[in-house]
Subunit: 230 residues, 6 copies
């Protein structure tokens, strides 16, 4: 690991980011070919937030939040801070003071593959965090890491500037080069779904709407009338 | 595994189910002799729902929700859909569209030993789900499984038609043949508890109310006056 | 293990406890030198409570809540009940009836390294619980344990009478002999933080406020201008 | 749960069991349509054993091995003892003395969804155990459970008398009624594999041997020459 | 946490330790009233070692093994080093060089609630380690902790000088003041078991040897002849 | 995700790979600045193997090993196959037949963030595998993934051709561009360690050899003579 801060990164296209924020994680994840989703142990510390923005990335040491302090300076309005850790750790690397600092810079939220504390205060100030744990465990500032290098966070590789989308369903990362294409597909998917929802609400079966009966038969599914027939 | 759909199942007695829904999981679980409880990793995606109904069962492949689409057709008003998986999996096999479809048929809720997505939408439409994870991870429709065969879901064997009860405390399954007996015991337990609650609220000790002092002494418990006496 | 109940314990200083309850877990944990924090798998069954009190301790057998019934009698107004278990267990050892009984005695809350049930009722009556699981699984009353002996609960050793502080960030334990010193440090920390918060809110960087630039350089952190420079 | 011991159970066909023991878990599991496999947290306490036999089942309480003592009497030569637990538990419910007792009756091995101890002694006496943990934690004999009722063990429902197959790859359960059919399919699969192994050893590609190129193309897989082409 | 090294500790009685080392973990744990056992996630990095000795304790920071280097100086011939961590961590805090150093001082082995590396070399040199993980993750030497203060290691409180016993079944801790009494009970238990083992090997049932039939009946266990009778 | 196979990849320098294979994971991981280590849940299915080679990468669907069959064709003598999965999965995606096929092509071993089966046969044929589980669970061949695209495997991003090193301590990945520099550092570290080992074996303290006493004092560590002094 190089102990380095990269000052200038290329950020994902802001139009795509606007679309991602409006449509949310599940739709974007589908549009990206069902990839880029962070592991499900990452949960929002409070429900209801839905954000998207380019990633400023941090690689931190376990139990040490020094690099988060360093990263604040590299953030711009609209960014999302993404913190990976060199080893599994749940310490409370982030709390109210850092949240205040990020909010002052216009950062939209934090994704951290470690712990978070001061959850009540962060909720009250409306700063959303997705973390792997809630923990009051304080951290030291003793060992340097890196800012704006590629990091793996909750199972997904994040390059600085990639688009990060987060809501109650989780967190998905869209690589910069796929943003435009993914935004278009996501919008189309969203538009299509509304019609399907209406048909299903009337009682029409997905089996028929999606024309599944024939492929199911071909795949070997049979119907019997009673449990004893199995 | 037989790749089969069983069309006609025998459903648990509706009177018992009414009792179960009114009394909730903890009371029913006690009345069943403290068995039938699903593992605690299964959690409601939103709190406050309390349901009971006969199980329509699904055995699904990991990352594949084809059989849930098939199962919708087998559901009747008042049913609860129960999805087991052939291997541990947290993918988001269920979301808003399937929820809309099940709600249109009068299904009361979903128990799924895998992931769920669109949690905000499902909450807004009032469709309750108990799942092992929230995950936006989309699924394929490639491999068939089975509907209305016995499945193990979160550690409990569920036969089609068994009564399933779910609330904030978890999910319990009552085999069809024990429903009537269990409903009677659950009602009695509930009636008894109210008197106990009132006595405890006045400060009466459970030690006295349950006559525990003598058995505790016999089991070897002693009292000392100070830590140094241990 | 001695199967014993200790009747008279020394309780932590009530002034310190008042300070702890006002300041909350994260601040107290920092003031104690970042120790004494229970593992993060312990979560509140409902959010928003913040309590502190001297510990009455229980050592229970898995799936057996007999000792909790015994412990109720040893509790005084303002106490916090702390339950450790001889082996990992998530059964629902505690529910509405025991909560009613503890509340009648003025106990502030429960910390239990096992499961809890009746979460809706406990929320409605305002009795806070921090547990490792929610589980309707009922327990037997068959094997004795101990009350008011030292117990390890969620990774922390708790002596009877130690101060226990719990809120949405978790649970921290302050040994009796450190209470006064810790309360003073916690209050000072709290007073200091307010000034920092205000400065950060204006956009001042922690890097400057904490004078981190020089030590970071010394620790080997370098800045580069573009990703290609790494 | 009924606290009952069933004395006479129907055991799986011994010819099929002989085939299962010779072919091992992976082959049998395939022949059963890829079902019936216990969860992977169940591991052998020593490697190299391969057994099959009809199940004598036990439903035990956490931290309580009373029912295992009861079950010994119900075992016959060639049986495999299968222990499920009413709740997740890793206590050392089984050790050298019980192993000696089962071995004296000709029992082939133990499958236990809890802990095991005396692993060195059990290895030396050649008694195989598949358990979810190794733990010296002793257990009480205080609460009754059941013997020879259906139990869920490590995620699989086991009816008394079902064929249980265990080796270094894990544990699979074949319901009595599918034993003959499954044994035939397993033998055929085993015979087929030898030819395939030889062809692959010469360097022939599975892509060609299984005729996968066409279906892969149809499923959308494309080939490019350089990373930049993606 | 006080950042302190305590130089002179009182060590558990050496006669008791000799008995513990001869009898092993399961027997000692029983003699101690089934308490003091560390959690089962702690496993030996190689099988076959059986040790006992007084504990020299370390409280380490996550990802930082500085205090282990400090602790070496405090170790005497026959000691066992016990390392707790201020937060869950699996980094490889210990390897061949530290093992060489401890072995040079006559230390019998290491118990560490974190990771260990160089497992092949440690096996070859015959230095036993019980750890929660094997990990090559290197650690820093940046933040101080404490040596010879009470630590919680894998769920058990260890005071400096307490007797630690470890073998393939796990790790148990005997507080100094209970050593003599526990050694006597352990020896008695061991002597008793030999007779039981012989009787069980002849086929005598535990049900009869332990006179369990009457208490089982009283506890509500019934026998039926066929599954249909349940 | 693009469903694509990349045919021509650039492989890490073979001289560096030779050094990595000779020195092993812990030394290489240190030389890389303590990064690149896969998570510790990845374990060898048999102990004693030590390999290094350029990565051929696979991105597979849960419960589906189709892409591994595809990847075999892309492997050259000396390669290491690395399999990531689009979602957490422990199914036995790899067994004796695929092992035979890879061995026929000269592949050195497999790293798979999923399950493996036929462990006894793979051990006998000397084909090493590092997996997250052993599981007999068979897989389908229904959905395509990708070969030789970047994949995250057990928490580490692996680009095709990166050097992968694996032994009993785990698995580390060295990006192609850092291979030469890392090999040189690793060799130097290895040479240095031998002298240290000899000094430590004579009883010299690391405290003195590493000159730690002064920095420890500065970091706040104090020594006291008796526990009461704390």
């Amino acid at each position: 690991m190089k102990t380095v801060v990269v000052r200038n990164i290329k950020r994902a296209d802001s139009n795509a980011i606007g679309t991602f924020e409006a449509l949310g994680v599940s739709t974007v994840h589908e549009a990206l070919g069902r990839s880029g989703l962070m592991k499900t142990y990452l949960r929002p510390i409070w429900v209801g937030a839905q954000i998207a923005g380019p990633a400023v990335t941090v690689l931190a040491q376990p139990g040490d939040n020094w690099m988060i302090h360093v990263a604040v300076e590299q953030c711009q309005k609209g960014d999302v801070l993404v913190v990976g850790c060199t080893t599994d750790n749940t310490d409370g690397m982030f709390g109210e003071l850092l949240g205040t600092s990020l909010q002052a810079r216009g950062v939209k939220g934090l994704i951290i593959d470690a712990g978070c504390r001061d959850v009540k205060a962060l909720h009250e100030m409306g700063f959303p965090v997705w973390s792997r744990a809630v923990s009051a465990k304080g951290t030291v500032k003793a060992t340097v890491g890196a800012v704006n290098v590629p990091v793996v966070c909750a199972g997904v590789n994040v390059d600085p500037g990639d688009a990060v989308v987060a809501d109650d369903d989780g967190v998905v990362v869209v690589p910069k080069k796929y943003c435009a294409e993914t935004a278009a597909k996501a919008q189309k998917r969203f538009d299509d779904e509304d019609g399907k929802r209406k048909r299903l609400a009337t009682g029409e079966l997905g089996l028929d709407m999606y024309n599944m009966r024939e492929p199911l038969k071909k795949a070997g599914l049979i119907y019997v009338d009673k449990p004893e027939d199995v």
